[in-house]
């Protein structure tokens, strides 16, 4: 049957299971928007295309499906760029469909023409420029397959306006041919055997669980492996939720703002099992002194990540779930009680320093608010965050028992991610409690999406941690620039009034005793609700590994109110 390119696009996207798209119409994608009216798909009209990309990203991370963002040519497409880069760094499967000027105008600097495939080349897993309607079906099929398979990532389809309007014979391609695209699944048996031998020899093994555990859906396999081999698990920021935080083998988060005992465990381990993580600099600190006693086994689906930052002894290139299934039968049950006891002693020292151990002093600390939120929601809410101090506190204090419930911009560290990703998450799980934890800086970057939340009736709760500072930058200036505050103070609007202007119920919280009632108010009120917490202005996230420092050279939270900054050595 002959159909227009725009119709073929929707026909194919429906077959990919697309139910909701996040986007913004404009001159170069109007035929797509016109055709959309004939298809059972829900369109979310965002207020800025960056929001569309983040919503698609949040939707993808929460649902495991491919998220779709749409924009017109030129500025519409370039506004997607931050969201695409965010999805690329965190391997999130999204497909972006952008309109492009007609094929005969491409290259001629036509109105709203931008070289979008050129711009997005380094920040997409793959991209396409479609100049004829005959190509649409094949390209859409490939794009969704590439986005969600192997190491997932963003794929962009730039469709020329003529290709949207012109007709082509539509036949859904039953299979696709991608001769250069072969995501690995099984690791070679010989490598598995080598890994098993290292595991058998280890006395102080440690698993580093990354985002790959969640992307591969390998939570069960991870748990089976860890319990069988009696190996503790440290998690990256994006790996949180891959293993229950309450489990005795769970050590929580590693890295720059990771738990001190977790970083000490890495520096003292004799075997690291890196599962679906990429040794980011925020995780390793100084590479020259990183895990000096450890052999390293790296299970990774992307061969270009192997030996990239850290040279490993045994790379296992394949799908994590498959590799762990292959590996478990090759390992025996081990007992690492003395190693776990060592970690436990580091851990108890950390707990004494923890801000949760502080007596109530009438001040409002983000960590306390988040622990209250965790208790009030029984730790069961889906959390999205923005980027900065509140993000690290959310990772530290809103403990994750289950997978795919902590959605945050890790690799790119994109401020403005929190609110739109929460809206996207709501479309994936409209029946679940969703909180987005944001700071006053990042929130204002994509604050316009409040209107989108209202228009869609998104049942999301916004916990805004307002310290009138760009808190993380302020913290760095305090620690590393002699407290010379440069461009970090924010004179903010009245956020309750902003919410009010959107018709969003809101509360302001200034004292600790107001926290729980405000949380309860938000939980009981349907639709979007904002709670502004006026938190301590100059509180810092601890521990902290300064950029490029040794992983165990942490700035620790001073015990109680002592102000000495000290360093812990093994």
């Amino acid at each position: 049957m002959r159909k227009t390119g725009a119709d073929i696009l929707w026909e194919c996207m429906l077959r990919e299971g697309v139910e909701v798209v996040f986007g913004y119409p404009g001159g170069a994608n109007m035929p797509i928007y016109d055709a959309m009216l004939n298809y059972p798909v829900h369109h979310v009209l965002v207020r800025h295309e960056q929001g569309a990309a983040h919503m698609a990203d949040g939707y993808a991370r929460a649902s495991g499906k491919v998220g779709v963002a749409m924009a017109t040519s030129g500025p519409g497409a370039t506004n997607l760029v931050t969201g695409i880069a965010t999805a690329m760094m965190d391997s999130s499967p999204i497909v972006c469909v952008t309109g492009q000027v007609a094929a005969h105008l491409v290259g001629g600097d036509a109105f709203q023409e931008t070289d979008v495939t050129g711009i997005t080349l380094p920040i997409t897993k793959h991209n396409y420029l479609v100049t004829h309607s005959e190509e649409v079906a094949q390209v859409v099929r490939e794009a969704f397959y590439i986005a969600r398979s192997g190491r997932p990532g963003p794929v962009l389809i730039d469709i020329c306006k003529n290709a949207q309007i012109e007709q082509a014979e539509f036949e859904y391609p039953e299979s696709i041919s991608l001769p250069g695209y072969r995501p690995p699944s099984h690791a070679p048996q010989a490598d598995l055997q080598r890994a098993a031998r290292l595991i058998a020899q280890a006395e102080r093994p440690l698993i580093l669980a990354g985002h790959g555990v969640l992307m591969s859906g390998a939570m069960e396999e991870l748990s089976t492996f860890a319990i069988k081999t009696h190996t503790p698990i440290a998690s990256t920021l994006l790996g949180l939720g891959s293993f229950p935080a309450s489990h005795p083998l769970s050590l929580g988060m590693m890295g720059m703002h990771g738990e001190a005992y977790c970083n000490l465990a890495i520096q003292n381990a004799d075997l690291l099992l890196a599962f679906g993580m990429r040794f980011d600099d925020r995780v390793t600190g100084n590479l020259r002194t990183y895990a000096p006693y450890a052999r390293k086994i790296h299970v990774e689906i992307d061969p270009s990540e192997v030996h990239k930052n850290v040279h490993v002894d045994v790379p296992l290139v394949g799908d994590l779930k498959t590799v762990l299934r292959d590996l478990v039968p090759l390992v025996d049950e081990y007992d690492h009680e003395s190693w776990l006891a060592q970690i436990a002693s580091w851990r108890s020292e950390s707990e004494q320093r923890d801000i949760l151990a502080w007596p109530e002093d009438g001040k409002l600390y983000v960590a306390h608010v988040l622990r209250d939120l965790w208790q009030a929601t029984q730790g069961a809410a889906i959390i999205t965050t923005d980027v900065g101090q509140h993000q690290m506190w959310a990772a530290q204090y809103y403990l994750q028992e289950r997978s795919h419930r902590f959605i945050t911009s890790g690799g790119a560290g994109t401020m403005g991610f929190g609110l739109p990703s929460a809206i996207g998450t709501w479309f994936a799980h409209p029946d679940q409690e969703i909180w987005t934890i944001v700071g006053d800086g990042g929130f204002q970057m994509t604050q316009a999406e409040l209107s989108t939340a209202v228009q869609e009736g998104a049942n999301i709760k916004i916990a805004l941690m307002n310290n009138n500072f760009l808190g993380m930058v302020r913290q760095w200036q305090e620690f590393f620039f002699e407290k010379r505050y440069s461009a970090v103070e924010l004179r903010n609007p009245d956020f309750v009034k902003i919410a009010d202007a959107h018709g969003i119920p809101a509360r302001r919280v200034e004292t600790p005793d107001e926290v729980l009632p405000a949380i309860e108010f938000a939980r009981q009120t349907p639709g979007p609700v904002l709670v502004e917490f006026r938190v301590e202005k100059e509180e810092a996230v601890y521990p902290m590994v300064p950029t490029g420092a040794d992983l165990d050279a942490m700035i620790r939270r001073p015990v109680r109110q002592q102000l000495a900054v000290e360093t812990v050595r093994r």
């Binding site: 495939t117 991608l178 001769p179 250069g180 072969r182 699944s185 030996h307 394949g318």
Partner: protein, 181 residues
């Protein structure tokens, strides 16, 4: 040391840009890059020469392999391969110098392919070393202009180059090349 890689890529618009963009993005310094057609219309062939540490050569290999349009990457460095470069060298030559140039050209089994009143064009094909050798001898006479094709390479007999990229070798059966899911 010098590494020579062969990449088979899909013959589609923009693929060269993807490869070049990769080199820039990952900060790889390339000595020469040759792109050309192959025995198949749908496949182009790239020969990439780089002077680097082994770790960088491996990184180029795995990153090339990661591109969707790149079908195969082989390392032919120190393998039984035929390596060839082609150069056109325009040499300043008044008539009385032509005999001297013709002598050198004969020794190197090169050819004079154009003669003008005050210059000749020398064509030479061979390994990079051989071409460098002739250039050194022609330079005192006066090289006006030169162009080189960049190295191309082909393995001898039924040999393949080495595929270092984890997952590039032996992980996939032929039928997996066509994906139906």
């Amino acid at each position: 040391m010098q590494y020579t890689l062969i990449a088979l890529v899909e013959n589609k618009p923009g693929v060269l840009n993807r490869v070049a963009s990769l080199f820039r993005r990952r900060n790889f310094n390339i000595e020469s890059l040759n792109v050309g057609r192959t025995e198949r219309d749908d496949i182009s062939r790239m020969t990439i020469v780089m002077n680097s540490e082994e770790t960088d050569a491996r990184k180029v290999e795995v990153n090339l392999y990661k591109l969707v349009n790149v079908i195969d990457v082989q390392d032919v460095t120190n393998q039984p391969a035929v390596l060839r470069d082609l150069a056109l060298i325009k040499v300043k030559a008044v008539p009385e110098q032509r005999a001297e140039i013709a002598n050198l050209v004969a020794i190197f089994r090169a050819r004079i392919v154009d003669v003008a009143p005050d210059s000749v064009i020398v064509e030479i094909t061979g390994t990079e070393d051989k071409i460098e050798g002739l250039i050194e001898l022609l330079r005192p006479i006066g090289i006006l202009e030169m162009v080189r094709s960049g190295q191309v390479a082909m393995m001898r007999g039924s040999n393949n180059g080495v595929r270092h990229a984890p997952g590039a070798n032996g992980h996939h059966s032929e039928e997996e090349l066509t994906v139906g899911y």
